[in-house]
Amino acid sequence: MTPSTTFQRPRRIARLGTVFVDIIVRPSGAIGLTLVIAHLVLALIAPFVVPYDFTEMNATLVMAPPSSLHLLGTDHLGRDTLARTLMGGREAILVTGIATPLAVMWGGLVGIFFGLAGGKLDEVLMRIVDAFLSLPWILKMLVLIVTFGTGIEVLIPTLAFFYGIPVIRIARAATHDVVARDFVQAARARGHSKITIIRQELLPNVRDALLVEGAMRWSWMLLAFSSLSFLGFGVSPPTPDWGLMIADARGFMSFSPLGVLAPMVGLSSLIIGINLTADALAKALGIDRAQKAPV
């Protein structure tokens, strides 16, 4: 008999609480969650905390080394690096923070629907999804962005649409898994309507997989967003953004490496934080997180 006790579980506690505790208990989860929360708080309070206005240019102090005036120095236009770094995540978090739930919702719904539909329709759809996914993400997004512009109103729907597509696959697979199980067949046999079955039997069981996937999507989306900004297709200046900052500063790396290092730390710490949290979440929920490449 393996060391697993089936009869001694504690009474049912609010599941949210249990999961939360499970995450904190793991070192990866604790670190990850701390990083994420820190970034979220920072994004909120940054405008009130920055020493300088991020657009304020000081022509005399271009690419200055760290000093008591400018803790991290200045960039090639004389703007305070610290200020820009602290503010650098706001746009990214805003855009991806809205786009991620949208992506998971639309991808999830479509995936569940087609997972249930089955048959030829399902097969055809998956072929199309596969074909779609064989195009590099960057290509797909750039084409749209270039045509319609780079404002938030384009970025959010674009990211949500394209990053929702892999979610279709995951939701469909999870749906297939759950539908095959006896309790769903039992519900069918009782005569519950399809909607009821989705709501009561399917969703609660698919929810966990989607949650973990959602966390991962967020980190992939941030990656994409910052890459787009880096390439010049995301945020427009003078909005501070880590990707953009790295692109600007990299020509001057040899003179002032901080201009590149500071936003790198900002960006990396957020993405790593999300990944660690997602990992701990997956383990806490008991989900085997498939290692997939982003989009």
Partner: protein
């Protein structure tokens, strides 16, 4: 089994065909057409008309698609909006250069990932595993342009070991790309390795915990014989697909890398064509990349079919 192979090939062909339709439709659905995109503000009057005629845009969509598709199969990808040059010529060297990057990354990354993955699984939770897994997480989550920039900073700016930017022209012989190509390949390798190694690790761990591994142990099979004969062949089977996926992802990641290093490959060309609004070129590159993606996945599936005894023998019995 032959039937299964043919079926898979057929599916691959259908996917490529579907992709071509998606690309074509995608471009069609954008407001305007290749000429208005390219000429932008100057898209009016005679200029526009001439452009349209040169590119054959005044014909119905179906005809254009058919011609494009037929040409693509034969290797003729049409002409660019910018300068009317045949795209196949433009693309030739670029494709080769990108393949150089990709193959370099694969040759270095795949064996490394397999080795590290197996090692970290066999010595699970020991220092080796912790170090490798942590590094892998870092490499996977940090955007490529960040790691690329960081590596340039360290190895080019501070240490001066390798050049940080590629100055060799596109059509130079491959040899001239060394040593500039080392850093780009390193970045690609890092990310590829990280992805693959995580999957290999979890696959090996699962196989180690399997009942057949336990049975081998109880049969008196020495540990290392069990690992190499019983565990690894089973663990590495599913990784074939992950490797394919990662290679495919590589094709996307290459774009960013080529931009960072100014490398004259297909990815850079794609970005340039998008910036220039040169839609025919973009379309063509999209098709090439997608075909490679499908091809790689196809190869992986076929390899899996050949390697997996369950798929090789189609006699499925009831337990």
């Amino acid at each position: 089994m032959l039937a299964m192979l043919f079926r898979r090939l057929g599916l691959g062909a259908i996917t490529v065909w579907l992709v071509s339709i998606i690309i074509f439709l995608g471009v069609e659905m954008l407001p305007g057409d290749a000429c208005t995109a390219f000429l932008e503000r100057e898209a009016k009057g005679k200029l526009l008309e001439n452009c349209r005629e040169d590119l054959g845009l005044n014909r119905p969509a179906l005809t254009r698609y058919a011609e494009w598709a037929k040409g693509a199969v034969q290797g003729d990808l049409g002409v660019s909006a910018k300068g009317q040059k045949p795209i196949s010529e433009l693309v030739g060297y670029r494709l080769r250069n990108t393949l150089l990057l990709a193959s370099g990354a694969m040759l270095a990354g795949i064996p490394l990932a397999l080795f590290l993955g197996v090692v970290s699984a066999l010595w699970r939770d020991r220092p080796v595993d912790i170090v490798v897994s942590t590094l892998a997480i870092f490499a996977m989550t940090i955007p490529e342009f960040v790691s690329a920039t960081l590596l340039i900073l360290v190895f080019s700016v501070w240490l001066g070991w390798v050049p940080g930017i590629v100055l060799t022209p596109a059509n130079a012989p491959l040899v001239e790309f060394f040593p500039e190509v080392l850093l780009p390949i390193t970045v690609l390798t890092l990310v590829m390795t990280a992805h693959i190694l995580r999957t290999v690790r979890s696959s090996v761990i699962e196989a180690l915990a399997s009942e057949y591994a336990q049975m081998a142990c109880l049969k008196g099979v020495p540990y290392w014989q069990m690992v190499f004969r019983h565990v690894l062949p089973n663990a590495l089977l599913p990784t074939i697909n992950v490797i394919a996926l990662t290679i495919a992802w590589l094709l996307g990641g290459v774009v960013v890398i080529e931009t960072v290093f100014n490398y004259p490959g297909l990815g850079r060309m794609m970005i340039d064509s998008i910036s220039d609004r040169d839609l025919p070129v973009t379309q063509a590159i999209a098709l090439i990349i997608a075909t490679v993606y499908v091809g790689v996945n196809l190869a992986a599936d076929i390899l899996t079919m050949l390697a997996n005894p369950r798929l090789r023998t189609m006699h499925i019995r009831k337990g």
